[in-house]
């Protein structure tokens, strides 16, 4: 009897969680569809887009620079640990360049931006929701998606790929500093081993990933913010949820695109 009631309870919880999951996915899809629709509806709020580009892109630049530089350094050092045994240090340059452009540059940058800007977007929109500012916008005949989400969407899909290019570059600079400064690889060899294996496709696939990550970050952060409830505690929970769910979906999207590019190469 107890086992049966336990089983029933577990089934009920599972049903509830599954329906919650599909409602969440439905909500995200609906918000994304509205955002894409309003992207092309006038007026285009260029000043708001520029402001968001400054907040999301320019303000994130220092931290992206630091993290990518140190990632390049760490990768070169870890690579050297193994490759020195085979006297193959010069391949460190290729390892750093390919790993960064195809994988680490886009993913690391997206995680930084999700943590830094995604959280800020959710907190800002969440506060607006719980202080009735979103409702005030609606009473003033302004559409919250068009007014609040679209400028952030534009800013993210422009700035995240740009930040990714910066991350790729500074990561390679980090690798170069170790390769040339510590492992005594000559400048010309390091440059040749960096540029030779690097194809345009590698950079482009990384940038396609970063655009998809921008869509993920913006949709989740705005959805969580616009649906916050329950005062300061609710905004805090929405912000945490926004960052965690963005991280998970970024990794899932990365896995999807890596597999896709592997099979269609």
């Amino acid at each position: 009897m107890t086992l049966i009631s336990l089983f029933r309870g577990a089934v009920a919880i599972a049903k509830h969680k599954i329906s919650e999951f599909f409602l969440y996915i439905g909500g995200l899809t609906s918000l994304l569809a509205k955002t894409l629709l309003y992207m092309f509806a006038p007026p285009i709020r260029k000043w708001q887009i520029l402001e968001q580009m400054q907040r999301i892109g320019v303000a994130s630049f220092p931290i992206v620079l630091l993290i990518s530089l140190f990632t390049g350094i760490v990768m070169a050092l870890q690579g050297a640990y193994q490759m020195q045994k085979m006297s193959a240090e010069m391949y460190i340059a290729s390892l750093v360049a390919l790993s960064l452009t195809r994988e680490l540059g886009p993913v690391l940058t997206a995680l930084i931006v999700a943590g830094r800007c995604g959280a800020a977007i959710t907190a800002e929109l969440g506060t607006m929701r719980v202080t009735e500012q979103i409702e005030a916008l609606e009473t003033l005949s302004a559409n919250p998606v068009q007014y609040l989400v679209v400028p952030r969407f534009f800013a993210l899909i422009i700035m995240l790929p740009l930040l990714t290019i910066c991350a790729d570059f500074f990561g390679m600079v980090g690798g170069y500093l170790i390769g040339v400064g510590k492992l005594s690889i000559t400048h010309s060899v390091y440059m040749k081993m960096t540029l030779d294996p690097l194809a345009v496709k590698d950079v482009v696939t990384g940038l396609i990933k970063s655009v998809s990550f921008a869509v993920v970050i913006c949709t989740i952060a705005c959805y969580e913010g616009l649906n916050s409830e329950g005062g300061a505690e609710g905004v805090g929970m929405a912000t945490t949820s926004s960052v965690v769910r963005s991280f998970i979906l970024i990794i899932v999207a990365d896995c999807f695109f890596t597999a896709l590019f592997y099979f269609i190469r």
């Binding site: 506060t127 607006m128 202080t131 009735e132 500012q133 409702e135 005030a136 916008l137 609606e138 009473t139 003033l140 005949s141 302004a142 559409n143």
Partner: protein, 261 residues
């Protein structure tokens, strides 16, 4: 004219409004009174289309706003102004941008004219020289008055006030009451105010409607409400701790005190 017919609204298991009927005439100042949490703000949000009813209709000048498309609703809302309980000013915008929001978004007015209109609106609510301040720099009373200036910036036909005197001191509360009455007379608008502050209700209202137990139980002029024979109305307007409202809720006088000792 605003006609609300057979309005039902529930949040999950909690039925907030049930078969509610209310008619608000053009040009009148209607005050809806009722206990905190009885659904006054929910009713107000139905009138401006921020919430959709489970059943029933809300007719604004003959158009049922529960059936219109979002675009049509936006154009109907251009006739409305609303003052929120916490003012709901946009934090990231200055006072000027808040008050001039609609003028900048929906008109081709030159900036100079917008500035003039914003100054006029601020003057009407008794504020001067705060155009470039941010909402965070304003006191509660100033925020409410800026909210009021924003609500009237586009000459609305209908203004909604959600608890206009809550959270401000009694003097500022009275100033806001005077302002609402003066603006109502001056702009010839239809005003709908929800409040539990009886002093405010008597001062603002042409007619008062009492919301209790999910529907309107009494409606009349301030004098008619004052002289109502309904014990529920009498308990509420006199603010008595004992009476049918507290009996129904099972609240005994001093119960909380005894529990805490």
């Amino acid at each position: 004219m605003i006609e609300i017919t057979n309005l039902h609204k529930a949040f999950g298991e909690n039925q907030v409004l049930e078969a509610l009927d209310l008619t608000i005439n053009t040009g009148e100042s209607m005050v809806i009174i009722g206990r905190s949490g009885c659904g006054k703000s929910v009713l107000l949000k139905h009138i401006i289309g921020l919430m959709r009813p489970d059943e029933g209709s809300v007719l604004v000048d003959g158009t049922d706003i529960t059936l219109v498309s979002p675009k049509e609703l936006d154009s109907i809302r251009m006739n409305f102004g609303m003052l929120f309980q916490g003012a709901a000013l946009f934090d990231s915008l200055s006072v000027f941008e808040n008050v001039g929001f609609r003028l900048m978004e929906y008109t081709d007015m030159p900036l100079k004219d917008i500035q003039k209109r914003v100054d006029e609106c601020l003057e009407m609510v008794g504020l001067r020289g705060i155009r470039y301040m941010k909402p965070a720099e304003l006191s509660g009373g100033m925020k409410k008055r800026v909210g009021l200036a924003r609500a009237i910036s586009m000459f609305p036909k209908i203004i909604l006030f959600d608890e206009p005197t809550t959270g401000v001191d009694p003097i500022m509360g009275d100033i806001i009451n005077d302002l609402i009455r003066t603006l109502h007379n001056k702009l010839k608008t239809t005003s709908i105010t929800v409040t539990h502050d009886m002093k405010s209700a008597y001062k603002i209202a042409d007619r008062i409607a009492m919301l209790y137990d999910k529907k309107i139980i009494a409606i009349g002029t301030p004098d008619e409400i004052k002289n109502s024979k309904d014990p529920v109305v009498q308990q509420f307007i006199n603010g008595d701790a004992e009476g049918p409202i507290t009996d129904q809720l099972g609240i005994k006088k001093g119960a909380g005190l005894r529990n805490s000792v």
